[in-house]
């Protein structure tokens, strides 16, 4: 819990309630950054009385930066291909570097050709087989068990986490990302 202390000259510092710690309003101070983190996490609950306007603004700016960073990372993660689906080949028609003289226009025409711009990647196996050993009979032969490919499990989990971040991102942050 924090409170504001204003001295006789009108200068402010932040006091950590129940401690002997007084924190200057200096963004380079480590404790000051902790105050911002607590405001982001706990809101007005971490302050006795109103949060000073300048502190709230600093906390909002810090949160905005954090959200933009998280959104950028999550978006990049989601653009990666899905392991269970694989990636389709993409062919685009691009200038081949050759030209042909056009007698009608009396100019050199660029010759186009098809190029693979994105290579295909096969999906990984949907399942893998693992051996399960009996805990009761250590001499027994292991049995085979079919499970989802752990690579797919991990990929799905990471994509879900990234999607959750994207879904929770406020519009102003998305606008900043797109600008």
């Amino acid at each position: 819990m924090y409170s504001t202390y204003t001295d006789d000259l009108g200068d402010k510092v932040i006091h950590v309630t129940g401690s002997n710690l007084y924190i200057p309003l200096d963004s380079n101070n480590g404790y000051y950054q902790k105050i911002l983190d607590d405001i982001i996490e706990q809101g007005a609950d971490c302050f006795e009385g109103d949060i000073p306007e300048d502190l709230q603004e600093a906390a909002d700016a810090k949160r905005f930066t954090q959200q933009l960073k998280a959104y950028t990372t999550a978006t990049a993660r989601l653009t990666q291909y899905v392991l269970s689906v694989g990636r389709a080949e993409v062919i685009e028609s691009q200038p081949s570097g050759e030209t042909v003289y056009n007698e009608e226009t009396m100019q050199n025409d660029v010759v186009m050709a098809d190029f693979v711009t994105v290579t295909a990647i096969d999906p990984v196996d949907a399942t893998v087989t693992r051996l399960v050993y009996s805990e009761e009979d250590i001499d027994a032969d292991p049995t085979e068990e079919e499970i989802e490919n752990p690579l797919i499990t991990k990929d799905n989990a990471e994509r879900a986490a990234a999607q959750a971040i994207v879904d929770a991102t406020p519009q102003p942050v998305i606008d900043e990302y797109n600008s």
């Binding site: 009108g10 200057p24 380079n28 480590g30 404790y31």
Partner: protein
Amino acid sequence: MALKFIKPEINFREKLAELDKPSGIAGEAMLRAETPQEQFNLIGAGRHRINHNGAMNIWQRGTSFSSVSAPAYHTDRHQTYVSNTATGRSTISRSTDAPSGFGYSYKLEVTTSDTSLAAGAEYGLYHYFEGQDLQGIKKGMPDALPLTFSFWVKSSLTGKFVVELMDNDNSNRHCNRPYYINSANTWEYKTITFPSDTTGVLANDNGNSFHFNFWHGGGSGFSGSSLQENWGALNQAGRADGQVNVYGTNGATWQVTGVQLEVGKVATPFEHRSYGEELHLCQRYLYYVGLQGVNYKYMPCAGTIYTTNNAYTMWKYPRTMRAVPALNYSDATDFQTVSGGAVRNTTAITLSGSSFTDSAVVIFVASGADQGHGVLIRSDENTDVFISFDAEF
């Protein structure tokens, strides 16, 4: 006239034998050095230790701390890290048990074990750097330099341990390398060379740009993929893979001293500095005024009773601090104002907002003090009085 030439005999066998003469380890290292900088380092020319308090000589806050449960500084410049989901507790102390050539070591002794680490549990020993102090490593540049880390370590546990370098300016890029403690309760000297990183320039300012971290234990969130031994984007699962959980054993100990981070691929002998010089370096991050064994000790400040009861005192730090520091003290009633022919006990102490990186105004409240008098501040008869200015990360 006949001239007689005397030709010295050359024993080719001896000459060839001289070519086989071993040059010694240092000589070979010199020959193998790839850059003049490495040769410069090898002969110990210039200052090469980047980190502070590597010999664990400076303990301004005290020399023993029990039941450490949250990130906190004990020995100067080193933060014992205990994350909020970590349930292990330890005693941190300055130990005189140290390898030859060192007076002290940092000692961690587990007092409450954490045998079932939460996924996000993290234990370690951090040392943070200002970006402006690391411009010389050229991080993020095409000619970025490698770094070599060396230290003495001793633990009751053996096995794989991890040291981490992390770039806090560039989305926490990191490079983690293992070291192995082979014999329990034995001082071992370790050297680890970290490759250069041509990605991510460090900010040239006083912010927290970079750190090293000795891991002491990490939950499942910090393992699972192989240790990220080359510089790359943040990969939490590759930060502490295989790391021994020091906190997994009650009574386990881990000690370190002679810590040196330097530019180049070669670990050179530890650069010892005088106590005074090392203290001075540490005081950029913490200025701690204790009693030094004296009751009623006058504090290094002077001031005036600016308004009734409120003594405004000016404190000049020994050196410019990294940031405007936070004020901390033992207790508001631990001090006395000496003013106008009277001594009064203080009832409150606060930092003024008119404080900077080179000086602070601290306000001592003492009932009955008359406005306009000059004032001195002294401690009372208590023995654990302190006042500190903290600009650590």
